[in-house]
């Protein structure tokens, strides 16, 4: 259901005229864990934003679960972001007025389901070792704790795909590894597709598949051969 297809994505800026993404195509299957790597300026964050519906491509299409997300009307895109997608950014972006449990429940509040999902929010926080932080505000927590709350918030609606943009960028290695371990566990247990942008090769190596960008092009995709193999397999099945 949640497979993601990027087809001939181009993103160019007018001023100065730069092609940030240059004809990028790739598929991500349901339950994959993909790391997008590259130097800064290689276009990896832009690719994530375009693939997740936060930014519009200049050309090309993004199809998630069989639907072109840039052909959706606004309200549908909002619903889609709410229920099917989770985001984790480099900065936690927690709302400073709210306790961590209320922060986690913010996406649920959009649909008026904050009561129904309160238990799940508590479980998520507990699973991430935050049971002592339920009623703390972001300012009372450490950077690692804040980021873990942000991950719990991204997961509260049980999304099909989790997009993460340098989620470990502001963290020390202990907390960074902890986040990565959480991602692996989520990917394995809940089957959530994860697309992770990182410049740290160690973390990228933890993903099942790596896409390396150089100057807005895919230079290397570890799954190309896998995909080819899968296509062959499909073909042989259908015959």
């Amino acid at each position: 259901m949640a497979d993601l297809q990027c087809i001939n994505l181009v993103k160019s800026l007018m001023n100065p005229p730069v092609r940030i993404l240059n004809d990028i195509s790739f598929d991500v299957g349901d339950g994959d864990f993909v790391a997008i790597t590259g130097k800064s300026g290689s276009g990896k964050s832009t690719l994530l934003y375009v693939a997740s519906g936060l930014d519009f491509p200049t050309e090309g299409r993004v199809i998630i679960g069989g639907r072109d997300i840039y052909a959706m009307p606004d309200y549908e895109l909002n619903e889609f972001r709410n229920a099917r997608i989770g985001f984790v950014f480099q900065f936690h972006y927690l709302l400073p007025e709210l306790t961590s449990i209320d922060n986690v429940l913010m996406p649920a509040r959009k649909l008026g389901r904050e009561r129904a999902l309160r238990g799940r929010a508590g479980e998520l926080l507990e699973r991430f070792g935050l049971s002592h932080c339920l009623d703390k505000r972001p300012a009372q927590m450490s950077g690692g704790e804040q980021q873990r709350v942000a991950v719990a918030r991204a997961l509260i609606m049980d999304p099909d795909i989790l997009f993460a943009d340098e989620p470990t960028g502001n963290l020390d290695s202990v907390n960074g590894e902890r986040i990565m371990a959480m991602f692996k566990e989520i990917n394995r247990n809940a089957g959530t597709t994860i697309i992770l942008v990182t410049h740290e090769l160690d973390y990228a190596a933890m993903a099942g598949r790596q896409i390396h960008l150089v100057d807005g092009r895919i230079e290397r995709d570890t799954a190309t051969h896998v995909k080819a193999a899968r296509k062959n397999l499909n073909r042989s099945h259908s015959q």
Partner: protein, 418 residues
């Protein structure tokens, strides 16, 4: 979005409270200012409407000019006057009083009417003399039309009809001629006749113009002492509804040589002052509301700038533009409703206090302008208006920054930060 809106308001208490105070003072200011202005105007209007006749019928002043004779002598020819005609037609009294009475009796709008004879005379006592107006009335009918009987300070208004040559004078007038109650003073008419009258009562309206000049007597007393038997110069009319005075006066006035004037025509200059006051009031209260609106705008605008990141994350988790607009609009509306509610209570309390402030006009305790404290208009309409205006301006003032917040693109904020 109520949940987050309230949380955000609570998270910045000093700003919230300052804005709240601004709105409160704005609403209270509107109420106090409107109440003060309205109180004074209502009082004056009430006096204008109730103290004197609603409609007054009196002789028209008609002057003789060249135009008077145009077309009468030698209609075809051109007339050159050696000495142009001048002078005045003698309409010193109403010509057809019985027909006026019949018309007024028939008219269902008329509550009561009172015929009067008003003559200019000189009141003298020993060596002192004061010019004044000698007014002949029927005390019962006069009391039905005007409130003059309420201002008696000695004697009873009906006493004038208990005999001939009895008079009720203004207190100031009595002082000026050096007389006391029950003294006999002399009336000198323009024709040179003199007649003694006995003071049986005094009155004080609080209006110097009246208190120094008027003397009331019965119709027959004035008619006989001034040598104008059977004459009536004025008919004062009171209506059931004072608002119909103008229409009635226009109706009665057409096709007659007499002058018919309604209370609002007679007091046009005062009503003009009221209109000017209203413009001052409206512009002042508008300024107050404008300042309040700018306060709200400022605070919410700062709040939006402060919360760009939070707006971005809300958008990325599926909240729509309208949700973001509502988030800030709700904050403005909460402040507006609470602020104007407290402002109304505060304004009411301030009005109640102001009403007790003494503004004693020296010595006039029972007169026309007999107020000894500030006047406040207690009208629910003022409160409804204050509430509506504050809420409306709050909504507008918060919608502008809210819309700006809704337009923010989540990506630009996130990218600008990372």
């Amino acid at each position: 979005m109520w949940f987050l809106a309230l949380k955000q308001l609570r998270s910045r208490p000093s700003q919230t409270i300052l804005t709240f105070i601004g709105i409160t003072l704005g609403a209270a200011g509107y109420i106090v200012f409107s109440g003060l202005m309205g109180g004074y105007q209502q009082y004056m209007l009430d006096k204008l409407v109730n103290n004197d006749a609603h409609v007054r019928i009196s002789p028209r002043d008609e002057f003789i000019t060249r135009e008077t004779f145009r077309g009468i002598f030698f209609p075809e020819g051109e007339i050159r006057w050696l000495s142009p005609p001048s002078g005045r037609v003698n309409y010193s009294h109403l010509t057809n009083v019985p027909s006026w009475f019949r018309r007024l009796d028939r008219d269902p709008r008329v509550l009561a009417y009172s015929p009067q004879i008003i003559r200019d005379v000189i009141f003298t006592h020993r060596d002192f003399s004061v010019p004044g107006r000698f007014i002949g009335i029927d005390p019962t009918r006069e009391s039905q039309v005007t409130t003059i009987a309420q201002y008696m300070t000695a004697g009873s208004f009906n006493d004038v009809s208990k005999g001939i040559s009895l008079i009720i004078v203004g207190e100031e007038l009595m002082k000026k001629v050096g007389a006391r109650l029950n003294d006999t003073i002399t009336i000198v008419t323009p024709k040179g006749g003199t007649a003694p009258v006995r003071i049986v009562g005094t009155l004080r309206t609080g209006m110097r113009m009246l208190d120094e000049r008027i003397g009331y007597a019965s119709l027959t007393t004035v008619q006989s002492l001034t040598g104008s038997p059977g004459e009536i110069t004025d008919i004062a009319v009171r209506l059931h509804d004072a608002n119909k005075a103008r229409a009635l006066s226009e109706e009665l006035g057409s096709g007659t040589t007499d002058r018919v004037e309604s209370w609002d025509q007679a007091n046009e200059s005062i009503l003009f002052v009221f209109r000017t006051q209203n413009i001052v009031r409206i512009s002042t209260t508008f300024t107050i509301i404008l300042v309040v609106a700018f306060g709200i705008y400022n605070v919410l605008n700062m709040s939006v700038n402060h919360r760009k990141k939070e707006i971005a994350i809300l958008r990325s988790m599926g909240y729509s533009k309208n949700d973001i607009i509502l988030l800030f609009l709700y904050q403005g509306i909460v402040l507006g409703i609470l602020g104007s509610a407290v402002g109304m209570i505060l304004g009411w309390a301030a009005c109640a206090y102001i009403e007790t402030i003494p503004i004693a006009v020296s010595g006039s305790r029972r007169g026309w302008v007999s107020v000894n404290h500030m006047l406040i208009l207690w009208d629910a309409k003022i409160y409804v208006q204050a509430f509506a205006m504050v809420i409306l301006s709050t909504i507008i003032a918060s919608f502008i920054p809210a819309r700006a917040a809704g337009r923010l693109s989540p990506l630009e904020i996130i990218r600008g930060d990372v």
